[in-house]
């Protein structure tokens, strides 16, 4: 396992970019690119990253980057990787998409590319809502969350996309977090050398969208793992494995209080006591389920 000090010095995403202060996705992107190096082509659908990469005639990305409409990323990456392989180029083609572009509008395209097992590393940075539009509910938004389109709190649960992706029969699915940067780094390194479709979902707090103080982005992401609400795991060739950062928190007594996680974020302001109890029950169930699945072939 890589240590923080072993992370490479090289940077592939430049300072002075369009991200908001405390942005979670740039923490993820910086370190993902460190793992991939410069032989990577990025494909980015409409998302916060359209803004974060900075406007014409400049770019903050030091790797080739193709912007696409919202629903098109996995298909554009398919065309790109096929063309590169025809030319004998072995570079990584990485989709870098938000949760709206992954869970919702881009889902058919994502599913198609996964079903074809295209040689793509698909990364969803999950900030749990349409943040580039100013914060609107997506299929990734958790129950009870305030957004511009769910002013009294979302009524539905988050879609379990990692498992849906695993059900496509792809060889590698993982969840990761910007708070556990070496775990993320190692997952990217592992996926980098695989062929075929790989899906990694990175928990990436959004400071303005979550009504979160800018310095708290990493802290809130850490709490999401420590409370068990966002478990980190891998599903490799159908075998489920809980990741080291999440392992201790499968045990209820080790888990931190959800209230600590909720109270630092304004997006959970509508949660009532009974809502929190409901979410706690869900976390308990999921943790138990994941404990029983750990190390087993699940799909």
């Amino acid at each position: 396992m890589t240590s923080i000090k072993q992370l490479p010095y090289e940077e592939y995403f430049l300072a002075g970019n369009g991200s908001c202060p405390g942005c979670g996705l740039t923490i993820g992107l910086r370190n993902v690119l460190k793992a991939l190096g410069k032989e990577v082509y990025m494909v980015v659908p409409a998302s916060c990253s359209s803004v974060v990469q900075s406007p014409f005639p400049n770019s903050s990305a030091m790797v080739p980057l193709l912007n696409t409409p919202f629903a098109a990323a996995a298909a554009a990456a398919s065309g790109m990787v096929r063309a590169l392989r025809l030319k004998g180029k072995d570079s990584v083609v990485m989709v870098w998409a938000g949760d709206g572009g992954t869970f919702d509008i881009g889902f058919a395209t994502l599913s198609g590319a996964a079903e074809r097992n295209e040689d793509i590393l698909y990364i969803c940075y999950d900030n749990e809502a349409y943040m580039n539009t100013g914060g609107h509910r997506s299929g990734a938004t958790p129950f009870g969350t305030y957004t511009g389109t769910t002013p009294t709190g979302k009524k539905e649960n988050k879609k379990n996309v990692p498992f849906i992706m695993a059900a496509h029969g792809i060889q590698y699915v993982a969840t990761a977090s910007i708070a556990f940067i070496t775990d993320l780094y190692d997952k990217i390194l592992k996926a980098k050398d695989m062929k075929g479709f790989r899906y990694i979902q990175i928990f990436s707090p959004c400071t303005p969208g979550w009504l979160l103080p800018t310095e708290k982005s990493v802290e809130s992401a850490k709490l999401a793992v420590q409370t068990g609400i966002y478990p980190l795991f891998e599903i490799e060739n159908g075998v489920f494995k809980i990741s080291p950062p999440s392992k201790p928190y499968l045990k209820k007594e080790k888990r931190k209080s959800l209230t600590d996680y909720f109270k630092i974020q304004g997006r959970f302001k509508n949660l009532k006591e009974e809502d929190i109890r409901l979410i706690e029950k869900w976390v308990d169930e999921i943790s138990e389920e994941y404990s029983s699945m750990d190390g087993k072939k699940v799909i």
């Binding site: 923080i4 000090k5 992370l7 010095y9 940077e11 995403f13 430049l14 300072a15 002075g16 970019n17 369009g18 991200s19 202060p21 405390g22 942005c23 979670g24 740039t26 923490i27 910086r30 370190n31 990469q53 900075s54 406007p55 014409f56 005639p57 400049n58 770019s59 903050s60 990305a61 030091m62 910007i178 940067i181 400071t207 103080p213 800018t214 310095e215 708290k216 982005s217 990493v218 802290e219």
Partner: protein
């Protein structure tokens, strides 16, 4: 026929001197720093400069002053001060 294509090239400060966005700035107390480079790894803006001996400094030209570095520093060696 004259064919022109627009290209966006990599450049630091692509949206300008983002240090100007800052309302408070991180100050590294080098005497307290344990050279763990956690601040560097978590900096959203690539504005913590990591030296070969793992000491760090801040690129104030572009640091947006989010405070993640100060919040994550395990020994409180980074302090946010009004800018």
């Amino acid at each position: 026929m004259k064919v022109l294509i627009p290209k966006s090239k990599p450049s630091k400060g692509a949206v300008g001197k983002t240090g100007l966005w800052r309302t408070s700035k991180p100050v590294v107390h080098h005497d307290k720093c344990i050279k763990c480079v956690i601040c560097w790894a978590f900096c959203p803006e690539t504005t913590i400069i990591r030296f070969s001996d793992n000491s760090v400094d801040i690129d104030y030209e572009y640091c947006k002053g989010c405070g993640v570095c100060a919040n994550e520093c395990p020994v409180k060696a980074i302090e946010m001060v009004d800018d």
